[in-house]
Subunit: 319 residues, 2 copies
């Protein structure tokens, strides 16, 4: 997390003349989000996030993300709308990168969620899923279940075993299990797919923002619940499961979205899949990122621990 593309204050000031947002008062590069460059900007009128899209976001996907955020904002979901310029354009170019000016939302991202915060987040996720029921946009999930075996092969068996002894074999057998039992027939929807605590802004126990929609895609809707559950219900290293947070998250979700019995029954396998997905992408980055690079590598074993927990505790989702 760093600022990859440096934009001068003069360039930002000039950029802002495309919009009706006042003139520049302050601009600070912020260390946030997936691998984009972000500036927190204050004008004489308001505050904004200026995002320049780096290699991980395909500019061709921006219209999908913008349509999704507009759809959700219209339904009073707390998402950050992208600002249109005087000609109605939201996708801009700046310093040779695709760029968007985005409304700033207050709120902080918690690191150790309380049950009340998890319940509010579950509720916000359910409300988002309700709001997306009539959203017609689609985007393939480039990290969906079908891609995990190739991802594991790209990591390499020896490299996986170097992360944790026996990991290669464990991954192989989990892939076999998931292939045999993956609930492909469950309802699909556009989902967030990455609703970790850093992508939720809160004030006290109230959600003020769902952010960083750049992994949003079409997939099994209940998989989004499973991803969020895996992201929220454990200590960072995945070694400690917090049953109160887990229960609160699911309770909050159920309050705002009516999860079907089949979807609920599938949560254990979906959570195993979510854990494997984040374990594999982290392992791939771990193997392919120099230890001293600008990007902080995230420990894959944090999600190996979650996977093992879900394997051994299929009953935690039962009411």
């Amino acid at each position: 997390m760093a600022v990859y593309t440096k934009v001068s204050a003069e360039e930002i000031d000039d950029f802002l003349t495309r919009f009706d947002v006042g003139t520049l008062v302050s601009a600070k590069g912020i260390a946030e989000g997936v691998e984009n460059s972000n500036y927190l900007i204050e004008t004489t009128q308001d505050r904004f996030i200026l995002t320049l899209y780096e290699k991980r976001v395909d500019p061709g996907d921006l219209p999908f993300f913008i349509a999704m955020l507009d759809h959700l904002a219209a339904k009073n979901c707390p998402v950050p709308p992208m600002i249109a310029d005087r000609d109605g354009n939201t996708i801009q170019e700046l310093s040779g990168k695709s760029a968007c000016l985005i409304k700033f939302l207050p709120g902080i991202s918690v690191t150790t969620p309380t049950p009340a915060q998890a319940e509010a987040t579950g509720h916000a996720l359910g409300y988002m899923h309700s709001g997306l029921k009539d959203f017609t946009g689609t985007r393939a999930n480039s990290m969906n279940h079908d891609t995990w075996r190739k991802l594991a092969m790209d990591c390499g068996p020896d490299e996986l075993d170097a992360i944790a002894p026996g990991l290669h074999k464990l991954v192989d057998s989990e892939l076999d299990y998931l292939d045999a039992h993956w609930p492909d027939a469950l309802p699909t929807s556009v989902i967030h797919a990455d609703l970790f605590p850093d992508n939720v802004l809160m004030l006290d126990d109230h959600v003020t923002g769902l952010i960083d929609f750049y992994f949003s895609c079409t997939d099994i809707r209940a998989y989004d619940v499973a991803v969020t559950h895996a992201a929220w219900s454990f200590s960072d290293d995945g070694q400690t499961f917090d049953a109160a947070v887990s229960d609160a998250l699911i309770r909050g979700y159920m309050e705002s979205f009516n999860l079907g019995a089949e979807e609920q029954a599938a949560l254990p396998i979906l959570a195993r899949g979510a854990s494997l997905r984040f374990m594999l992408t982290r392992a791939y980055d771990w193997i392919n990122t120099p230890a001293d690079a600008m990007v902080t590598r995230k420990d894959p074993t944090a999600f190996l621990n979650r996977l093992k927990f879900y394997q051994g505790n299929p009953d935690i989702f039962k009411a």
Copy 2:
């Protein structure tokens, strides 16, 4: 420039309870300043910069910096005061680091200064020097003239020549010249010593903040003018001298500080020294920083170009 020490929102929220500043509304890690970790913080009352001091700032120097900023703030210099907690303490500890909560100042740092902006900056520097006349604090300049020969040796002759052919010899002969002519008898003062454009906040042509005082020290006062001149009067790569900016900077300084004739006459050699100092520290970092490290290496030749310009143009400071 990155966030080296990650502090959770919960830790920041808890930290703020030491002060009368309201409760946390937003916290963003910002990429700014020398190698400290900085957070832009919004509370229910105001905005602040939270700085955690990393290896380049000695916590033992913090009382000097705080006294200097308090002294300048009392004289209406636009510097960011550090906030005292309920017990009157400004130096805090957070995540094992020394930390200060600092008032947020609006304004942007220009990249390509106009003459009007340079004049305002010169004026602010002179006003700061006036304000420091009765400041009794002192701090040795760890990068003063006496240290440059050792710094050059630490770089190594071959390594210098790898940066630019013949650089080792040029540095040696410049060191000899400076040793023979350095104006040690000129008035000394506490100086900023690093007033580059990124350390000046402006709105239009008005200085709203002088920041990043962590190189401040006691040295020849006119040397501060020379550093600022070298930092402001050239294109970033040092290849293009801007006479209008140069003249405006000196004019602005003279408006608020009465530079003596001897000081003025010494500006050419002081500017050569300033150029050599930044060339050598950049060269040292260049040689000792891996190309893919988190810190962006700055090109030493940008100050080699300035040095050559000052060598060839001693008359630019004449009125």
